[in-house]
Each structure stands twice: as structure tokens, then as C-alpha cells.
């Protein structure tokens, strides 16, 4: 995926972009439909997301994470500004008050590729119930209270299981460093 995105950034390669679109477009649409519950808006926001990928392909930094993670943040920000009419406050690394990290890890590109692999394995290893809880709570598909009802669990239990699962995923990533 990173290679396809690179072809878009450096050569404006439409064939490469179509491949990205065929892979991510349907996922972005599912995400937008979950968020908006509106088919027309989901389609529009999906197209907006993918055109942003086309425009900003050169801003993708493999050291910062996977292509999926990058496209997710684009979709997320578009959803927030279009539907919630709210700004998305973000830090600015070029601001004179910004505090940079003291040490940069040697090969962040490699580290983030390994992170992604570790994470994929860790997600596979989660008990199915936990995986489903995490997945559905992450994309505000339904409120925690509805999940609790559906799974026949007290609300507190649902919240603590989600928290545990996320902690487990993060621990896997930290252990690799």
C-alpha cells in the first residue's frame, strides 16, 4: 500500500490510485455509514476522503504509521468537520512553543512496520468477544450501554473489558521496542 501511495505522490499514477481506491474506498464508506447512518452522506464523505488522499499523498510519512492509519485519520477529521461542525484541535510541530522529543528512534520506519505486524497478531489473539467490543466501541457504532445490553453484561464490565483489551494491544507494541 505504501508503494502505491508513493506512486501517486511522485508520479500522479492514476492506476495506483485506483488500486488504493478499490481497497480503501469501500472501508471508508462503511466507516462513514456507521458514523452518519446516512447513505448519501457516507458516499460524499468517502469521495472527499479519497480525493484528499490523492491531493495529500506526498504528506504521508511511513515513519509515522501504516497507510490504513493515515487514511483513517483523514476520514476521521473530515467526519468531524463535516458532521459535527466542530474544529479538530491538533498540535503543530512547527510552532515555536512545540516541545520536540529528545531522542528520535533510529529507524522509525522499520519500527512502525513491525508495530503494525505485532498489532495485527495481537488483534487476532484477542478473544472474539473482546475483539468485537473493541472494534465496535472504537468507531462509535453504538454507545457502550447498547453493547452492554446486547452482550448481556453490566455496563461497567463492558467498559473494563474494552479498556483491558486496548491495554493488552498497547503492551504488545511496547514490548517490541
Amino acid at each position: 500500500m505504501a508503494r502505491l501511495l508513493d506512486a501517486v505522490a511522485s508520479r500522479r499514477d492514476i492506476a495506483a490510485f485506483e488500486k488504493l481506491f478499490r481497497h480503501f474506498g469501500p472501508k471508508v464508506k462503511t466507516y462513514m455509514l456507521k458514523q452518519t447512518k446516512n447513505l448519501h452522506m457516507a458516499e460524499e464523505l468517502m469521495q472527499e476522503t479519497m480525493i484528499t488522499v490523492w491531493r495529500k499523498a506526498d504528506l504521508y510519512d511511513a515513519a509515522r504509521g501504516t497507510v490504513s492509519a493515515w487514511i483513517f485519520t483523514i476520514a476521521r477529521n473530515l467526519f468531524i468537520s463535516a458532521c459535527r461542525k466542530q474544529k479538530r484541535p491538533e498540535f503543530d510541530p512547527n510552532d515555536p512553543a512545540f516541545v520536540p522529543a529528545v531522542t528520535e528512534p533510529a529507524d522509525v520506519g522499520l519500527a512502525s512496520r513491525q508495530d503494525a505486524e505485532t498489532l495485527r497478531a495481537a488483534l487476532r489473539d484477542l478473544p472474539p468477544e473482546q475483539r468485537e467490543l473493541v472494534q465496535r466501541s472504537f468507531f462509535s457504532d453504538v454507545p457502550h450501554s447498547t453493547l452492554a445490553e446486547e452482550f448481556g453484561l453490566p455496563l461497567g464490565t463492558v467498559k473494563s473489558r474494552i479498556r483491558m483489551a486496548i491495554a493488552k494491544l498497547r503492551k504488545n507494541m511496547e514490548d517490541r521496542r
Partner: protein, 223 residues
């Protein structure tokens, strides 16, 4: 500078997924500008979100017509251009600003140039409007060595220190430190000596002051 009080996992993951409304997000993003550790944690949460996103089922709708529409836009030269980055509020060149971005752009200038409104007892505030309709956001300036009246919380309160310091039951908070308080915490923060404490405070319910008098004038102060 070493940040010792950080953003909780709950807040940070909600910020990563975009669930967190604007007011809380402003406090989290401003902490992130001052805290490399939490930026690393944010990257983890965004990686998790990215993997879960990758695992979403593909929409079964026909994507053929979507692609036909989209590929036409690719030929439009205005779609090939990256829009210029938003210009933030520039701080005076000589020294690093007290207020980092994104906060500085929200209030329109650095701390010294702001129109501070008196809150009584030497304290000042600058209310910060947001679009979420849930939180109330303000900058507070507490004179050095002076206490904030003792209170508990009707909901959640985030306090991010930007200058000076304060101490309460949970410890000492300096520049970059963030305190997350809820219904269970009753506290009386006291500004550290030597320098006025400037902090960003976000709440979603009015504070519950212990003093009857303060409860009486609370609506006037809008706090």
C-alpha cells in the same frame, strides 16, 4: 521541562478515534504539543484505530460509479493542488510563547496580550468559545501563592498548566502537566509562589464551591 502528569488512556484513545468533543480535545492537543511521551502513545492509539479500520467489512455498494465520478475530479487541476497550510497566530519572535498551538490560535494571541476579565480575589479569566455545546473552556490566571476556592465537580474537569504551577491533594502541577478531576475529587488548588499560574480549564458542569457566598455569585462569574 519534564511533564509528570499525563493524559489518561481513556481520553487519549477517544481523541485518537475522534469521539472526544472539541473542548476536551483542545486541552488534549495542547498537552500533546508539550509532551513527546503522550505523542508516542497517541501514535499507538492511531495505529490500533488504523488496524481496526483495516478490519472493517467493505461496503457492498457498487463502487464503479463512485470511481467514475472520482476519476473525473482527478483531472481537474484545482484538485491536484495541496491547499496552503492554515497560518497560525504568530508569536513575538524573541521568546517561545506561553500558549502553544492549537491554543494560541483559539484565543487569538499569546497570554500577555489577552483581555483578561477579573474574577475577583486577583484571579482573571478568558472564556474560549468552542462549537461543541457541551464543554465550557477558559484560561485562568491565579495570582502567585493564592488558593482557588475549595470545590468539587459536577462532571469532569481538565486543567492544563501553561505557566507557573499549582498544588492540590494530587500533587504539584507545572507547565505541561494536566489534571483530570471528576465527581469524586474535592480539591483546593493553590498557585505556586513566585509566578502567577496560567492554566487552561475545561469543564462540562459548573464547579460546586464549598462557600455559600461563591455559590451565590457563581452565575455572575459564569464559572
Amino acid at each position: 521541562m519534564n511533564v509528570r502528569h499525563h493524559v489518561s488512556d481513556d481520553l487519549l484513545s477517544a481523541y485518537a478515534t475522534g469521539e472526544l468533543v472539541e473542548g476536551w480535545s483542545l486541552a488534549v492537543a495542547t498537552h500533546l504539543a508539550l509532551c513527546p511521551d503522550c505523542r508516542n502513545r497517541l501514535r499507538d492509539f492511531e495505529a490500533i484505530a488504523g488496524e481496526l479500520f483495516e478490519g472493517l467489512p467493505a461496503s457492498t455498494d457498487d463502487m464503479g460509479s463512485s470511481w467514475a465520478q472520482l476519476s473525473q475530479r482527478l483531472a481537474d487541476p484545482s484538485d491536484g493542488i495541496i491547499p496552503a497550510a492554515r497560518q497560525g497566530v504568530v508569536a513575538s519572535a524573541s521568546r517561545a510563547p506561553v500558549l502553544p498551538e492549537p491554543l494560541r490560535s483559539y484565543v487569538g494571541s499569546d497570554a500577555l496580550a489577552l483581555k483578561w476579565k477579573p474574577l475577583g480575589r486577583g484571579a482573571y479569566q478568558v472564556p474560549i468559545p468552542t462549537g461543541d455545546g457541551v464543554t465550557s473552556v477558559r484560561l485562568l490566571r491565579i495570582p502567585a501563592g493564592r488558593p482557588v476556592p475549595e470545590h468539587s465537580h459536577g462532571g469532569r474537569e481538565l486543567t492544563l498548566v501553561l505557566a507557573g504551577s499549582f498544588s492540590d491533594e494530587k500533587g504539584r502541577f507545572c507547565r505541561g502537566d494536566i489534571e483530570e478531576a471528576d465527581e469524586e475529587l474535592q480539591h483546593q488548588p493553590i498557585a505556586g509562589a513566585g509566578e502567577d499560574c496560567i492554566c487552561l480549564a475545561v469543564t462540562d458542569a459548573p464547579l460546586r464551591f464549598k462557600s455559600r457566598l461563591l455559590r451565590l455569585i457563581q452565575p455572575v462569574l459564569g464559572i
